[in-house]
Amino acid sequence: MQGLLFLTFAAIAVICAINLVLQTHPISSALSLIGVMGSLAVLYLLLGGEFIAAVQLIVYAGAIMVLFIFVIMLLNAGAEKRPTRKVLATWISLPLLFTFVALAAVLIGSQVPRTEAVTFGGFAGGTTLSVGRALFTQYLLPFEITSILILIAILGAVVLARKEI
């Protein structure tokens, strides 16, 4: 059952990612990215990261991608025209990327043996309690710095998107 779940959602993630790269209209790419994030949330649940799965849906798929879709709608630039990229680039880059993926797969497969398996419930430390406890005791300084970072980002976005008078 878990293998079926993993294969289904991994396939959905890869297909949506390929769709993101191949679609011409930015809205279709954005919807594919939301599909990737949703299937990754399910994979996080399989790995015992229930808090991270919920935060992925709330923050990534529910806020960041809404921002993307707003900007795409606002700019309304439409689909890309016929790409005039060099044929050479496509013919070299894609085989290179495949080679890299294959190399990475072989390396990972040799370092992490097949006996190490993931079962649902194999890791019980991903609850909100343990994440919150670690966040507020061991990682308190990065937490506070990140909140200042978000404040800076808000100020920057407001200043940049202001109308010039």
Binding site: A54, L57, I58, G62, A63, V66, M73
Partner: protein, 399 residues
């Protein structure tokens, strides 16, 4: 019994009940609005308009489904599907009753028991923006676009006070699991005041409840925050270009959002399925009393039927007998542990739904800039202050 079979049966029951409730929620809304405005409301289609939702469903299903030629087809078709499925799926984490044993099968009355139930509901409300935004944009026309942008900006802005208002009682409850929250609100102070979160210490969450309700009105695009879909302003808002099943989906999504938000408010603030006064003082007889009272009312109006509706002499006593039977069901010892908690839960949730409809009939709507200013300059700081006070008191009291 096998977990899957049991879940399938429960899902079937809840889905059937929810979809029927959505259809009849529209009837309730039209009737209540009509009586607030001193008119009868739907009256002709079936007795007292009870078959009006059926007529509406038949009308919507048999209408021609349009696909505007200028629309972006994929997003246009995806938006209503997304809207209705995300708003319906949020009901799976709400507990309707305690753990019961029916015919030897022990099960929780509720579809799931997620440890991150509250986060799941927040995630679904965040994802609900997509149905609106994509629907309006995909229609490729000015009224839907403006309506969609306004509506989604409003929904995003009010998610923040909603989340803060939900977090405040969680500081007292210390859990994100809806079932544990409901169980922790059992018991009574002084023997008769229920330990609901609205009254709970160290800081009564009445302010959180009010902020939650206001933010919930804005999240579901209801009056007084329904400018994005007001007919006099923007024709139809984001669902202008939709007809037949697309429009029905958006409609169902809006009502499902209302039901979800009322159920969440019931569980978090009003104690879920816990009765209003202890069972020792006879709260188990309250549903029986209400049903018998309704039956008595039907008998009385059946005997004194008005001249224009002489068939009431036959139909009302029949309905009276039906309500007597329903009231009697609450006394059957096998069914009592299931029906009484579900009755209390439904009573509280439907009371909140009634508040939604009541306010629709009473208040005028906000202008859009007033709405956004209210969210960011008033409601959000108030929610933050409420959260700070609650967390300070919880930290001080827990020493």
């Amino acid at each position: 019994m096998n977990f899957f079979i049991l879940s399938l049966i429960k899902t079937g029951i809840v889905a059937l009940a929810l979809l029927t409730t959505l259809a009849y929620l529209q009837w309730i809304e039209r009737k209540v609005l009509a009586h607030i405005q001193l008119r009868p409301g739907p009256y002709r289609v079936g007795p007292h308009g009870l078959l009006q939702p059926l007529a509406d469903v038949i009308k919507l299903v048999t209408k021609e489904g349009l696909l505007p030629p200028q629309a972006h087809t994929f997003a246009y078709l995806l938006a209503p599907i997304l809207a209705v499925s995300i708003s319906l799926i949020a009901i799976v984490v709400i507990p309707f009753g305690p753990q019961v044993t029916i015919f030897g099968v022990t099960t929780n009355l509720g579809l799931t028991d997620l440890n991150i139930g509250v986060l799941f509901v927040l995630a679904m409300s965040s994802l609900g923006v997509y149905g609106v935004a994509l629907g309006g944009w995909a229609s490729n026309s000015k009224y839907p676009l403006i309506g969609a942008l306004r509506s989604s900006a409003q929904m995003i802005s009010y998610e923040l006070p909603l989340a803060m208002a939900i977090v405040a009682p969680l500081l007292i409850m210390n859990t994100l699991n809806f079932r544990d929250i409901t169980i922790a609100q059992g018991g009574y102070w002084l023997g008769f005041i229920p330990k609901w979160n609205v009254f709970a210490g160290p800081f009564p969450q009445i302010f959180s409840f009010i902020i939650f309700l206001i933010a919930a009105f804005a999240e579901t695009n209801r009056v007084p925050f329904d400018l994005p879909e007001a007919e006099s302003e923007l024709v139809g808002g984001f669902h202008t270009e939709y007809s037949s099943m697309g429009f029905a989906s958006f409609f169902m999504a809006e009502y499902a959002n209302i039901v979800t938000v009322c159920c969440v408010g019931t569980v978090l603030f009003l104690g879920g399925w816990q009765p209003l006064w202890p069972a020792a003082y006879g709260s188990d007889l309250a549903p029986v009393a209400i049903h018998f009272g309704a039956a008595a009312m039907f008998f009385y109006h059946g005997v004194n039927a008005s001249k224009t509706r002489m068939w009431d002499r036959f139909s009302f006593p029949v309905l009276g007998v039906v309500f007597l039977a329903l009231g009697g069901l609450f006394l059957v010892p096998v069914l009592k542990p299931i029906m009484v908690p579900v009755f209390w839960f439904l009573a509280k949730a439907l009371f909140l739904v009634f508040v939604f409809v009541w306010i629709r009939g009473t208040l005028p709507r906000f202008r859009y800039d007033q709405l956004m200013r209210f969210a960011w300059t008033f409601l959000f700081p108030v929610a933050v202050v409420n959260l700070l006070v609650t967390s300070f008191l919880v930290a001080v009291m827990s020493k």
